[in-house]
Symmetry: C2
Subunit: 523 residues, 2 copies
């Protein structure tokens, strides 16, 4: 597999120019041709401003291809900038530690140089989390952890595994499989994101209810900070002071470099059942999902797609909202729970789809999942046609969820049309649900003007961020804060907590070299 | 109801002298009479060293009864010291704020005086959490929150309630009841502990699996710190940086005074089912509980009592271990889940008790629960007979649980016999279970020598703490750290995390007036 330096995932899955034109046909007067993909050798990258010492040279690369691939994350604005050849802040060095001692040595060297260090897992950040943009450091080092990708220990009795932070999703699962175990954490970025990245960003995963965030699957964490190694005890639970792990979860590389963790794993599911239910009105679907989330049935999948999202993903015809329900278990039958959940959805006005025969056409659930995994490649294809295509997500208590959805469809849609001069596609689905609220996920597709895509998207992003803040909704449920969410995160986190976080950063990273600009400013 | 100033709970439930003698009969040569209960007016309390300003006088008391009742928590060592009239460190003032502004004003005053402030909820700490023992402050103020006990808002749609921190368990539930809602957090101290106390100590509650710690029931927290008010947004979940709430959860009054919180509540259960299963060998019971905890069945009660604990609580005859299983739900049938759990326990070698007829004798579960709630009063009665009677609890991964239990029954039992000159009662139960481990809870009863009880228990406590540390078990699952657990907590928490916590304390409590000596030292 060849990783794309400019866009999502595997170059083999990138859309061809003709496929891009085909997608573009859906846009009002699209450009005739997709943006060409710049050749790395044509990029005018700033020359590296530091050279690694001999002792670390074997871990470091200054090749243009490495530096280009580590310049951005994978947000729309990253892809667009790459396509326009705009790589303003490439790292000077890409370092690939193979051991914790390598991490320690690299941090020591960076400290001596006062170089910024950006911990880098799969590079799938969509919030500017891996791109150092400052100028108060003489150089920037991208610390790529993917060489540290082993499952080091498996405790089958405790259903726990000690895993290096640089393991990409598939690599991690392939090592657990011989033990009959799985982490069951499958974010959309699964193939191209790492355990360390999931922990540092509080990723949301596979389960639609209960244990959705990686936080809940974490038994203990080990991290290297410039002030020493943090290594918490393996404990199923503890009441001994604030949780050390919870300080690292969501720290986004600003406090330390997560090198490994004991994670809670589980047997691979043997029982599965799924169904889909359709709703004429999205709000009826919301009410149904709320009832199910509050029922204690704990479905593993409980995704509500609004009509546009359902159509867009092939799970519906655009006239109805679709609720995709799934239950899974290792050993305990799930059919009764599914039946109960479907009954609750029906009581709320839903119409269940007829259960499929074996070998019949794929279900709404299957169709949606395929589209889900294909989506980032389509996003890149649309971006090459200068469309604006991006997502934003949030979490909000049930009591305000209907109002947020309505405001998005009314005010945000209007704002986007104003910016783009044409009505956008603005779809929504619930990715995760809780007893007290839900995580709505919005997809925006709108025609852009070539060369002006970035400014246009940034205007939309501001409108979206303001919408969320006005409704008391989180700036992010699982995409993290990075640099792009700072204006709204700075409003969301309590000021004394920000002061506390800065105090922690001063203590653990006194030189302020770890991912500067993310979450908080050194002060 | 009259609260006992020296012992547990309601004076009406305290044992009579004759009842104490009756209990004492079970001890090898017990004293003829129980320790008398000192009269408050006979206590030689240090005179108050500080007087509240006129503006705060209406919130403050310097009465001996108030000061005596706020001098200690409710640990065995607290009760023994009170019975011997040893109240070395009484607070100079007991302050009872009625509003958040009162809390702000009291902290301001305390800051001006550089007086230590000990946040005080129900006063049920068993780890020296509410007793300021230092001398670096000219005075100590016990900040009793119990006047702030209202449910301020209920969001029935989101199944959340905004509750003042000083609400004792029954007060909180009685205000939720008209809404058909409940927090379902029932620690043993339920009647005499507060929401704020539960949050500050990361209390473990009603549910034996999954959502056991108060942490999981918390939507947002509001706290007053000397550096300002922390108020997190109401969110069902968030991926925006480390959780502000998780910094306050377990902070034990060292970072701020929790004034209110939005808590996740739920409908009162309508479906209930319970059963008990007996095991010849405790380790077979452990294996059964592990299988159930890893099954995803999520029982609300899953308590394994070893033979001694079962006999002691009337749930068994001392020859077998007893597993008490319970399921509950609002609306979803639970019988199938119970049957499945009982089947798993049977596969592991357990023998289910015959289901009871209606109106038959109480079940092992009922019997155990009654003893559970009566226990603290019996503890006080035994203490008055100069017995050593105390508990310690922990959490440990399954892989090390059997070894910990065996070591306790072998080495700790021997150590206690050495200290007391007679074999102790040393019982164990699992209070909470997780997929990756369990929370064993030990009860120690041994004959003490009058006047020497404290030193003897402290020796046992050291042996117990060392046992836990040697097995990588937490110094506490839900009793918190306070002052008494510091030696082992200081080993458990990673050193850089302790440095981070000190940095946070310097930031939020620059004068170091909040509960000094708990968790960390100012530095």
């Amino acid at each position: 597999m060849t990783r794309s330096w400019w866009g999502w995932g595997d170059t083999a899955h990138a859309l061809t120019d003709d496929e891009c034109r085909g997608l573009g046909a859906a846009l009002p007067d699209p450009p005739a041709d997709p943006l060409p993909i710049p050749r790395v050798e044509d990029l005018d990258l700033r020359a590296p401003r530091i050279a690694p010492p001999v002792s670390l040279a074997h871990l470091c690369s200054t090749h243009a291809a490495d530096r280009a691939a580590h310049t951005h994350g994978k947000a729309y604005r990253d892809v667009i900038r790459a396509l326009h050849g705009d790589l303003e802040h490439p790292p000077d060095v890409v370092a690939r530690p193979a051991t914790e001692q390598d991490v320690v040595d690299l941090l020591t060297w960076a400290g001596e140089q006062h170089a910024a260090v950006v911990p880098y897992g799969g590079g799938s950040s969509v919030v500017g989390g891996v791109e150092y943009r400052g100028d108060e450091h003489p150089a920037a080092i991208s610390l790529d952890l993917t060489q540290m990708d082993r499952v080091l220990e498996v405790d089958e009795t405790s259903q726990s595994a000690r895993i290096e932070a640089g393991a990409l999703g598939p690599r991690l699962e392939e090592q657990l499989k011989p033990h009959g175990l799985t982490l069951r954490h499958f974010p959309q970025s699964f193939e191209f994101s790492t355990l360390g990245g999931w922990l540092a960003t509080r990723a949301g995963g596979h389960f639609a209810t209960v244990e959705t965030h990686i936080d809940d699957l974490t038994e203990s964490i080990r991290a290297v900070t410039p002030s020493g190694v943090i290594d918490s005890w393996r404990l199923p639970a503890s009441g001994a002071g604030p949780s050390p792990d919870r300080l690292l979860l969501g720290s986004e590389g600003t406090l330390g470099v997560i090198t490994e963790a004991w994670m809670r794993v589980r047997p691979r599911p043997t029982e599965r059942a799924s169904a889909s239910v359709r709703f004429t009105h999205f709000h009826a679907g919301l009410a149904a999902v709320r009832t199910i989330a509050q029922s204690g049935l704990r479905p593993s999948n409980c995704r509500l797609l609004d009509p546009g999202e359902a159509m867009y993903s092939g799970a519906g015809d655009g006239t109805t909202s679709v609720l995709v329900l799934g239950f899974e278990s290792a050993g305990v039958p799930v059919d009764e729970r599914l039946a109960h959940a479907v009954a609750l959805a029906t009581d709320a006005g839903g119409v269940p789809d007829r259960p499929r025969e074996a070998n019949s056409e794929p279900s709404a659930a299957d169709t949606w999942r395929d589209a889900f995994l294909r989506m980032p490649y389509l996003r890149d294809g649309l971006a090459r046609m200068s469309a604006l295509v991006e997502t934003f997500e949030t979490a909000i208590v049930w009591n305000h969820a209907d109002a947020l959805y309505d405001a998005a469809q009314r005010d945000l849609r209007a704002a986007i049309e104003e910016i783009c001069g044409a009505p956008p596609i603005l779809n929504c689905r619930l990715t995760h649900v809780y007893a007290d609220g839900a995580a709505p996920y919005f997809t925006v597709i709108a025609p852009g003007r070539r060369g002006d895509e970035l400014r246009m998207w940034d205007e939309i992003k501001v409108a979206a961020g303001e919408l969320l803040a006005a409704h008391g909704a989180s700036i992010t449920h699982h995409h993290a804060v990075g640099r792009d969410h700072r204006p709204w995160y700075d409003r969301q986190r309590p000021e004394p907590f920000a002061a506390a976080l800065r105090a922690v950063k001063r203590e653990l990273d006194p030189q302020g070299i770890l991912n500067p600009g993310v979450l908080i400013d050194q002060a």
